[in-house]
């Protein structure tokens, strides 16, 4: 693999295919897009296979000084590798899920392939400005996907998505310009080790926070998400929930935490507070939704709050947990949106009440839906459990109160997901048209099957996914250790027992020992 610019090729394949899609007819465009995404997936597998766990932190590095002021610098660590894998894994499924798109297929495929290029670019960029370009550029295809192929209220949703995220991001650019001016380099690995003055970190952190919090999205700047999710076509929702939201988490783990550790610790109350609010409030909102997509969108906000809680726990478990929640949520929410898409294609409504008793006429569908519901709830054996458990274990070390409040998210999550499942899959077949829907087709099997396998794999043997990231997370943890907040839930040493000779103090000794045990 040495010398082969695999990352550049992974960026180029969908880009070229996307441009070609603009000039061919619908059927050819579908095939071309599927082939291109599969090629990228194969390249991704090769990338993973050749990734040297325990080797250099940054692998597959490419650096070409092409531009003024920044360079074409790509390279990945374990964290980026996992997120790239998530992207290339979901893309062919998105293309398969787009069979119901009938108008302007060439442009649709072009937008998705461009999106894939930009997503991989975000995770692979090693140059600050290159990252920004990829990060921002993603707005354009997503704007078009929501606006052209979206639902009834798509125009409002597309504007809201675009302007919200743009406003969040522009201040980050100013912060980046200042950082480069201060540090004299645009190289991300160098900047990750650079110690910015603590006073400046506050401002830099806030500027980055504005961007990533919107992207993540954190409460209360999450309001673009339900609109965008609901209005986007199925595949658009999958990409939004599956990958785009992860850019926020990736931003925190790649930029905010390592570059501004002191500021991260300083603002930990803000993150914790917003996350706790998000877990409780958005879960409760999800509980009362009538629209399936909206319900899952709100559940995404709640899950992403578990991610931020884990990230800002300032310890290894929390960081690992956050990463696994991101990967797991990428798969599970994508699958849930696909499940909604499957029945939406048949009945053209997202109203929960219009369905019911689907386990009778669509048993295979109900099985998949059940699996992903359970994964979303965090049932042991599924990917959701691993991530949520680690995240909460991590945050418990930092703050038991936050852990307690965040854990209610799991309970509420079970409530709204099981309630959704009950209304859709169980009960009477009260709607004749819903009762007449056929079960999964081969195409839908191909969409849901691989995700189900991945969810179970991650749930049963998460080590495959954790191993590449372990060294990177340990390095990050080491960097954060100097700023990590003390935490309130540590084990406390008991007082040592006085020597046995002092018989007259025996009563006191026993008391002291009892006290020690009580701690």
């Amino acid at each position: 693999m040495a010398g082969f610019p695999i990352l550049s090729v992974m960026l180029l394949v969908p880009l070229v295919a996307g441009l070609l899609c603009l000039f061919v007819e619908a059927k050819a465009a579908r095939t071309l897009a599927l082939v291109a995404t599969l090629v990228d997936f194969v390249l991704g597998v090769l990338l993973w296979a050749n990734f040297d766990i325990g080797g250099a932190q940054w692998q597959f590095v490419e650096k070409v000084p092409l531009f003024a002021g920044f360079q074409w610098a790509l390279g990945i660590d374990g964290i980026a590798l996992m997120l790239i894998m998530l992207s290339v894994f979901l893309m062919p499924i998105c293309i398969l899920a787009s069979a119901s798109i009938q108008k302007r297929v060439g442009e649709y495929m072009a937008a998705f392939l461009l999106m894939e290029t930009l997503m991989i670019g975000v995770f692979a960029a090693q140059d600050l400005y290159l990252f920004y370009i990829f990060f921002e550029a993603g707005l354009i295809p997503m704007y078009l996907i929501i606006g052209i192929w979206g639902g009834d209220n798509r125009i409002y949703a597309s504007y809201k998505f675009f302007l919200y995220t743009l406003l969040g991001s522009v201040l980050m650019l100013i912060a980046m310009l200042w950082m480069v001016h201060e540090a004299g380099t645009t190289d991300i690995p160098t900047l990750m080790a650079y110690d910015f003055p603590v006073a400046a970190q506050t401002w830099l952190f806030l500027a980055f926070f504005a961007s990533f919090a919107v992207k993540m999205p954190m409460w209360p700047v999450h309001t673009w998400l339900p609109d965008a999710h609901v209005q986007a076509p199925t595949a658009g929702s999958v990409i939004l929930a599956g990958v785009l939201l992860k850019m926020g988490g990736y931003g925190f783990i790649r930029f905010s935490l390592p570059m501004f550790p002191e500021a991260s610790a300083q603002f930990v109350w803000l993150i914790w507070g917003l996350s706790m609010a998000a877990v409780v409030i958005t879960s409760l909102i999800a509980l009362v939704q009538h629209d399936m997509k909206k319900l899952i969108a709100y559940s995404s906000v709640a899950h992403m709050a578990i991610v931020t809680v884990g990230l800002f726990a300032f310890n290894t478990q929390g960081l690992e947990g956050a990463m696994v929640v991101m990967l797991s949520h990428g798969l599970v929410s994508a699958a849930l949106f696909l499940c909604v898409g499957v029945i939406y294609d048949r009945l053209h409504t997202r109203e929960i009440d219009r369905y019911g008793g689907l386990s009778i006429n669509m048993p295979k569908y109900a099985l998949f839906f059940m699996l992903f519901t359970m994964a979303s709830v965090g049932l042991p054996g599924t990917s959701g459990f691993v991530g949520e458990f680690l995240s909460l274990a991590g945050i418990y070390k930092a703050s038991s109160v936050v852990a307690a409040v965040s854990a209610t998210g799991i309970i509420l999550g079970a409530a709204y997901m099981l309630y959704l499942y009950r209304r859709v899959a169980f009960g009477d077949q009260k709607n004749a048209d819903a009762a007449a829907m056929p079960d999964l087709s081969l195409r839908e099997w191909l969409m849901l099957g691989p995700i189900a396998a991945a969810v179970l794999w991650m749930g049963v043997y998460p080590e495959s996914f954790l191993a590449p990231m372990r060294a990177d997370i340990a390095a990050l943890d080491a960097r954060l250790s100097r700023a990590a907040p003390a935490g309130d839930a540590h084990l406390k040493m008991g007082e040592p027992k006085p020597a046995a000779g002092h018989a007259d103090h025996a009563g006191h000794t026993e008391e002291a020992a009892a006290e020690g045990e009580a701690h």
Binding site: L66, F67, I155, Y159, L177
Partner: protein, 487 residues
């Protein structure tokens, strides 16, 4: 320096003036049917002039060798950089105009000649280092421009545009002259070096007023807020090729002129003008963005967009650094490309009768009826909004970088936050073209020159443009260094 050396320095201007006069005679005798030929000859002349001027830029010319006519003009790398941009913009106008005017039955042979004279004026503007040379260049350009704005004689809007432009332009010239006379009165010289030397140290109240009036006059010419009111009316009323010209070449010339005046003549008093420029920059960005939101005529929208862009350019000037000047030049190149792309796309929109389509609702669903035009126009819009990976982002990027490096972080932060307002109306155009049902108004075919220019400018503002950043940055650095060498 002897006359011959001076003349060789201004060879492009000499060539353009002489051939302009000859072409005027040709036009008089051969009549309007020669208009297209004269236009193409004009393009060729501009190419020759660019060829004559370019070596000075590549060599980074500066210093005493570049001074012509006893200090009236300075043909350094900075002047040449601006001139090349102006030649490109003028050449573009000459290429797209014939098809437009022929359709309206109003193609007259004076049109290319007037453009050439305006170009001579702009060449003098960007190289002037004396208030009088500056004024002569400015007026030569403006007088040609007034006629061009009213070129469609039978069209009421065009006549209105010409008159408005003339009255307000004359007012601006008056303000400028008043400022120049004050400056002369308090410094005793019209020469930039002399003004610079006389203004070192404490600034007198009179000289300050002179500076303010000069800047106000120039703000009119670059249509910076609060002197922007004429822009939407003139841009809407003038024939579209002329609007494209106004939005590109004279803007480059006036901005280059403003840079030279501010950084050279008033360079020692940066503190005095910086706050004015900062105000004008932010006001232009915000007013340009807010004003555009309600527009339904795409030319008016582009007029507000140009006000908005001037605001970003002025952020570069506000830094008062060499990096800021270089950033402005890079921005100008990209701005000209975006303007050309935008207006050429608008020029290509016409209905079944060949009448130009200018209403935004009328281009609804353009992506389905005219996909390539829609794609290019969408690229221009995203680029104007400064969304990466389109090249418009790079212009904003270098300007903000200069501001941050100069320590003006609040200015940069407010400016970039306000750019989000601008994104709204650029998005609106994309929305109308891509999301709405086709209005099916746009018909007909377009001239090859339009297609060629549209595709070239679209390729330039596409991500491929980033490959040019190094080369462009080096040239702009040379030009900015020449400006600051003089200063």
């Amino acid at each position: 320096m002897d006359l011959a050396a001076s003349l060789s320095l201004v060879a492009p201007e000499v060539l353009l003036s002489a051939s302009g006069l000859v072409l005027l005679l040709v036009a008089a005798w051969a009549g309007d049917k020669s208009a297209r030929a004269i236009s193409y000859i004009g393009v060729a002349l501009l190419a020759v002039c660019a060829f004559l001027a370019a070596p000075a830029l590549c060599g980074g010319a500066m210093g005493a060798d570049t001074v012509a006519f006893g200090g009236q003009l300075r043909v350094d790398a900075f002047a040449v950089f601006a001139k090349l941009l102006i030649y490109a913009a003028s050449g573009m106008t000459l290429l797209v105009a014939p098809a437009y005017f022929e359709r309206a039955g109003a193609m007259r042979a004076e049109f290319p000649v007037l453009i050439l004279f305006a170009t001579v004026g702009m060449g003098i503007m960007v190289s002037a280092t004396d208030l009088l040379a500056l004024y002569i260049g400015l007026e030569l350009n403006s007088l040609a421009a007034y006629v061009l704005a009213a070129f469609l004689r039978n069209d009421g809007r065009s006549a209105e545009a010409g008159l408005k432009y003339f009255v307000l332009g004359a007012l601006a010239s008056g303000i400028l002259l008043f400022g120049m006379s004050l400056t002369y009165g308090f410094t005793g010289t019209t020469h930039f070096d002399g003004i610079r030397a006389a203004l070192t140290g404490e600034m007198s109240m009179g000289a300050l007023f002179g500076l303010i009036f000069v800047l106000a006059g120039l703000a009119f010419k670059i249509s910076a807020v609060p002197f922007h009111m004429w822009t939407p009316d003139v841009y809407e009323g003038a024939p579209t090729p002329v609007t494209a010209f106004f939005a590109s070449a004279p803007k480059v010339a006036a901005l280059a002129l403003a840079m030279r005046v501010a950084l050279d003549a008033f360079g020692t008093q940066a503190a005095a003008w910086q706050q004015i420029v900062i105000f004008a920059a932010l006001a232009s960005i915000i007013v340009g963005a807010l004003g555009a939101i309600g527009q339904i005529n795409i030319k008016r929208l582009l007029a507000y967009s140009s006000i908005n862009n001037v605001g970003f350019l002025l952020i570069g000037l506000a830094t008062g650094t060499q990096q800021g000047a270089s950033a402005m030049l890079v921005y100008l190149v990209i701005y000209v490309a975006m303007t050309v792309g935008g207006f050429v796309a608008v020029l290509m929109l016409k209905d079944a009768d060949g009448t130009p389509v200018e209403g935004i609702p009328e281009i609804a669903g353009l992506s389905r009826t005219r996909p390539l035009i829609a794609l290019c126009l969408a690229a221009v819009m995203f680029s104007l909004a400064g969304i990466p990976p389109l090249f418009g982002f790079w212009g904003k990027f270098v300007v903000f970088q200069a501001a941050v490096d100069a320590g003006m972080i609040p200015l940069a932060a407010i400016g970039i936050a306000a750019s989000v307002i601008g994104a709204f109306y650029y998005l609106k155009v994309v929305k109308v073209m891509y999301f709405d049902e086709p209005a099916d108004v746009v018909k007909g075919t377009s001239d090859w020159a339009h297609w060629a220019l549209l595709v070239v400018s679209a390729l330039f503002i596409s991500p491929l443009g980033y490959l040019l950043t190094k080369w462009m940055g080096e040239l702009a650095d040379k030009a900015a260094a020449a400006l600051f060498f003089a200063a």
